[in-house]
């Protein structure tokens, strides 16, 4: 079975197909000899033939935990796997490109988007406003209060208020953060303007990033003044009164006086440049990515920097998730999305570098449930969906006509993204296997 056997003879490999799909989609677990030159498409045809499906279904194939993206022959060659033994190939349904929905137009660039809440999408924009959109594509709330562009927003996880009340914090270039409480039970179709409940003031420069703690009692924010500040946002009983969204009639100053001013609880100093992104998905740990080319880990209790990972580029975005909920994905002023595994002792270099974008990476987000999927948004106008088991992206979404500034998952099978074309794009019906 060598190449020397002649041109006419095809190389064959022994394969065995396994899957975790329902029994209807399972093939017999005996070994087959198939031509080695087959790629994903060929294998998919083979499996379809074996299953005898009426409507062909595309499959993706995993060999040794890696997605097949070339012919089997080439794969074995690059991995140095012998072709003599029987190869076990797992097949999973292919992730098909999601369907783009009607974009939601904003007045200005959409700088932040969050799909945290399953019923609503929250966006922040350069027109100083935050917006809350319902599933049918209507802007139900307008968050008015910032005097400069909203750069980042963080919904606060609060189990008891998940149904009725939504709390969130927005960061802005006006050096402040605002805390909002939204009562979601108003099923109005018209836009309601809300004013902030609290003003988190303390940064001396634009606030670039914000993240809420898993418990929902605190938020942290990173700023151009290079500090990270911790704020307590535990809702007070009297805060309930402000619910309901009274129409804004007053001047900006008047609003500011009406809202409650909050001082920072603690300040984490260590970064030397703007803190571009924060992640607070673990209870005691804050991860921060900065333009000073470092990724830092902070212990919340002691407010101490416990670990520093360095990169050669300024970092814009950060997401913790993936396998074991502990992989750090970060992107920045570069085309490469890097993934670190801080569990490896003495880790310095990223374990994986995903390179497909053509511009700065503005956002990255691990899928909340899948260990392998993450999405990234870039200034090249695309949002890419990655499977970490493959080095090329699964799906590239290029509905935006300008820089994509933010992207997030919504309802596990939707992707929402906002960009410099002032649009909020929503992609639905994503069939992620997890």
């Amino acid at each position: 079975m060598d190449n020397t056997n002649g041109d006419g003879v095809e190389r064959q490999v022994q394969v065995k197909f396994v899957t975790k799909l329902p029994p209807a989609l399972r093939v017999v677990s005996s070994a087959f000899a198939i031509p080695a030159k087959l790629g994903r498409y060929g294998l998919s045809e083979v499996v379809n033939t074996l299953l005898g499906l009426e409507k062909p279904q595309p499959f993706d194939f995993l060999i040794d935990g890696e997605l097949l993206r070339s012919s089997i022959e080439q794969f074995l060659l690059t991995k140095g796997i012998t072709a003599e033994t029987t190869l076990t190939i797992e097949y999973i349904p292919v992730v098909l490109p999601p369907e783009p929905q009607q974009p939601r137009a904003h007045d200005e660039w959409v700088s932040a988007v969050s799909g945290f809440n399953t019923r609503f999408i929250i966006t922040g924009s350069y027109d100083n406003h935050g917006r809350i959109w319902n599933a049918s594509g209507e802007c139900v709330f307008l968050l008015h209060g910032h005097t400069d562009a909203v750069t980042s927003l963080a919904p606060i996880p609060a189990p008891r208020s998940s149904a009725k009340k939504l709390q969130l914090v927005t960061a802005s270039k006006d050096h402040t953060l605002r805390f909002w409480q939204v009562a979601l039970n108003e099923a109005t179709s018209s836009t309601t303007t809300l004013k902030p409940v609290k003003r988190l003031k303390g940064h001396t420069s634009s606030v670039q990033s914000v993240a809420a703690s898993p418990s929902g009692s605190e938020v942290c924010s990173g700023s151009w003044d290079t500090s990270i500040k911790l704020w307590s946002v535990r809702d007070d009983p009297d805060g309930e009164d402000d619910l309901g969204g009274k129409k804004r009639r007053l001047e900006t100053g008047a609003v500011a006086s009406a809202e409650k001013q909050v001082e920072a609880r603690a300040t984490l100093q260590g970064h030397t440049q703007v803190v571009g992104a924060l992640d607070w998905s673990e209870r005691d740990t804050i991860y921060s990515a900065s333009w000073d080319h470092s990724l830092r880990t902070w212990d919340v209790e002691s407010a101490v920097n416990t670990n520093i990972l360095t990169c050669s580029k300024a970092l814009h975005c950060l997401s913790v998730g993936g396998e074991g909920n502990s992989l750090l994905a970060a992107g920045g002023t570069d085309r490469i999305l890097r993934i670190w595994d801080p569990r490896i002792p003495g880790t310095v270099a990223p374990v994986q570098q995903l390179s497909s974008h053509k511009g700065w990476i503005s956002a990255c987000k691990w899928h909340p449930k899948s260990a392998f999927h993450l999405l990234s948004a870039s200034y090249d106008g695309t949002v890419k969906l990655w499977d970490t088991r493959a080095i090329i992206p699964l799906v590239t979404l290029s509905q935006h006509k300008d820089k994509v500034l933010s992207a997030d998952w919504w309802k596990d099978d939707h992707i929402v993204s906002g960009g410099a074309d002032s649009q909020l794009q929503i992609y639905s019906k994503l069939n992620l296997p997890f």
């Binding site: 660039w109 700088s111 350069y126 562009a149 050096h175 001396t204 420069s205 634009s206 151009w224 440049q273 703007v274 333009w291 000073d292 050669s312 580029k313 300024a314 814009h316 002023t333 570069d334 511009g359 700065w360 200034y379 820089k403 500034l405 410099a420």
Partner: protein
Amino acid sequence: MAKLVPKRKLRSQGPPSPIVKENAVPEDEGSIPEVILAADESDSDPEISTDGEESGEDDDGESMDDKEEDGEELGSDDEEDGDSQGSEYSSGDEGDESSGDDEAIDEEARNYVLDVMKDYLGSAGPRDVEEAVEHEDQGNGAGEANGQSGNPTTAEESDSSEDEVPDRNTIGDVPLEWYKNEDHIGYTKDGLKINKQAKRDQLDTFLSRTDDPNEWMKVYDEYNDEEVELTKDEINMIRRLRQGKIPHADVNPYEPYVDWFEYEDKGHPLSSAPEPKRRFIPSKWEAKKVVKLVRAIRKGWIKLDKPKEKSEFYLMWGDDLKTSDKGANGLAYIPAPKPKLPGHEESYNPPIEYIPTAEEIKSYDAMYEEDRPKFIPKSFPSLRQVPAYPNYIKEIFERCLDLYLCPRQKKDRKVFDPEMLIPKLPKPKDLQPYPSMCYMEYRGHGAAVTSMSVDSSGEWLATGSLDGTVRLWDVQSGRCRKAWDFGVKVNHVQWNPNPQINILGVAVDKDVVLLPTELGGEEVTGNVAALLALKNQDVSEKDPESSPLATWSMDSKFKSLKLRQPFVVQSLAWHHKGDYFATVAPDGNTKSVLVHQLTKQMSQNPFRKHHGRVVQVLFHPQRPFLFVATKMHVRVYNLAKQQLSKKLMTGLNEISSMAIHSGGDNLILGSQESKMVWFDMDLSTKPYKAFKNHTKDIRAVAFHKTYPLFASCSDDGTTSVFHGMVYSDLLQNPLLVPLKILTGHETVNHKGVMDCLFHPKQPWLFTSGADSLVRLYCN
């Protein structure tokens, strides 16, 4: 008995020394010498015998050496020795007379003793040498015993071997043969004859030898006609002499050297006598000798160089291939190429393997003419049948051509590897980070962007354009946050370096506008507003005749402060503290450079005169210096002392831009003749290095604040990025490495990149072009 014959001979030949073998030639055989008797006695009493022998020995060996002795010792010896002889001798004339030959004689005498001893030991008959030695050892032991047993004098005498028992005979140093026929051998001190003793016959000798174990130690003294017995010490001495050692055992030949003369620290020679005159006069003798030699050489009597013999055999063809010898003209001689010598194939009847077959001959036709063999071997039965060689003339002609065309001179051409001439520089790859790729474009201006400035945090970028607007950009997102429309082309924008006063200085036409950017918080905005409020309104109105340098006024449109000057302001530069700023209006002649103070809202003209048209001014990043660039020179003024500190000889004709390193000691200049020069002001006032990296005018040059980077941009549409490492070590020159040429801007109206600027914190470069774009290049 035959053994003794040669001994006698020896004895007869010997000098008239007193040393004679004991049993030699006693004429009178019957007489027995006294000493022998004494020796016999010594068997029974070694002490006495030793003494006696000693005295006798002394007589023998050392009588000639020393005649002057201590009286005391002599006396003591005498007493012991015996009555008759002891007092006979007194130190006298004889010794003195004989002293001249003392040493030679002594030496000879010693030899004789040695010989005798040897012979004796050799002829000892039944006893061989070992026994003899053993015997001696015993004797030694006895001697030692003697020494110990109470004869301290022995040791002393052996030390001062000079003291002697005087000779019994007084004849002096005369040949003994004179007395050969006499009955006596000489006279005593008192003038009495000493009669010859009777000779012992051989039987006696034998008997005495067998009887007396010490017989072998006895020596016959012919002078005194007596036998003396040698002491153990003397025998030891002889033995030592025979072994070539020093006679006395207790003499250490290797005693440490004692330097008796001091020579260290002595400045003078031993003799301080003046140099004799002859040392300064040429020697006549030498002159004569030289003349003699010269004459001999001239006449050919002395041949200096013998002509070298030529080797009979030499390499006949040896010089054929030599080309290295240089001729008189310094050129190597190259001999003409040799024609090929005929081989077997040219033979009239070559071996069969040389003759080509018919097929081979046929194959020759298919070859190119040049490749064909010149000569095809052919066989002839005899030499007579060989025809004339048809190619003879042709070959001769070709040979002539070869000779004619062959090179006759060898010229050394220096081979330069062009790679070698390039200085060794580190690879750009190793000097990362540096801007290399355009990641962002800031779009919005409608005309060429002339000037840029980034605020100190690196968040905001301000640009001024020919479309009359100043725009404020968010660096990260590329969003235009704000635009101020002036309606006239904007020449220059510059952020105030103080982060607390985030105002923007804009040079528009004849105005300098200080724009509040309202980026800071409320307090900062308030402070800035207060700062920009017009203060001394009345001052400007008070004396209009004095024609103020600049008029400060408020501009309500942008809430800004405006400074009107009589001439078009081209650029402005902030002092690093943000209070002062300098403006350049090149047409202003003596008023072209003005320094303004923001807090007092005052303007002043620090210079009376400028040497040329001022292009740009810069403040030193730390110290009170002001750099003023005119068309051809850069002058450095010390603002504290108010004097010219330095003048940089740029060698450029049209300086267009200037940038200063954050350390303040290095400066780069861009010129319109597309040259960029680097000044190390610690090193010299002349350029450290010049780059000609552009094809058209250089528009701007820039230094990075923290990274070792600098850049230049030009009208040819490119921006060059350099690595410029300045070492804190003063001995090390800056390392300048070209890194990257950034392209991307289009050329519009022969204008390319108008300005370049580094991000204050990241290794990024902003470039603004005539194509109204601003680009950001990142690492």
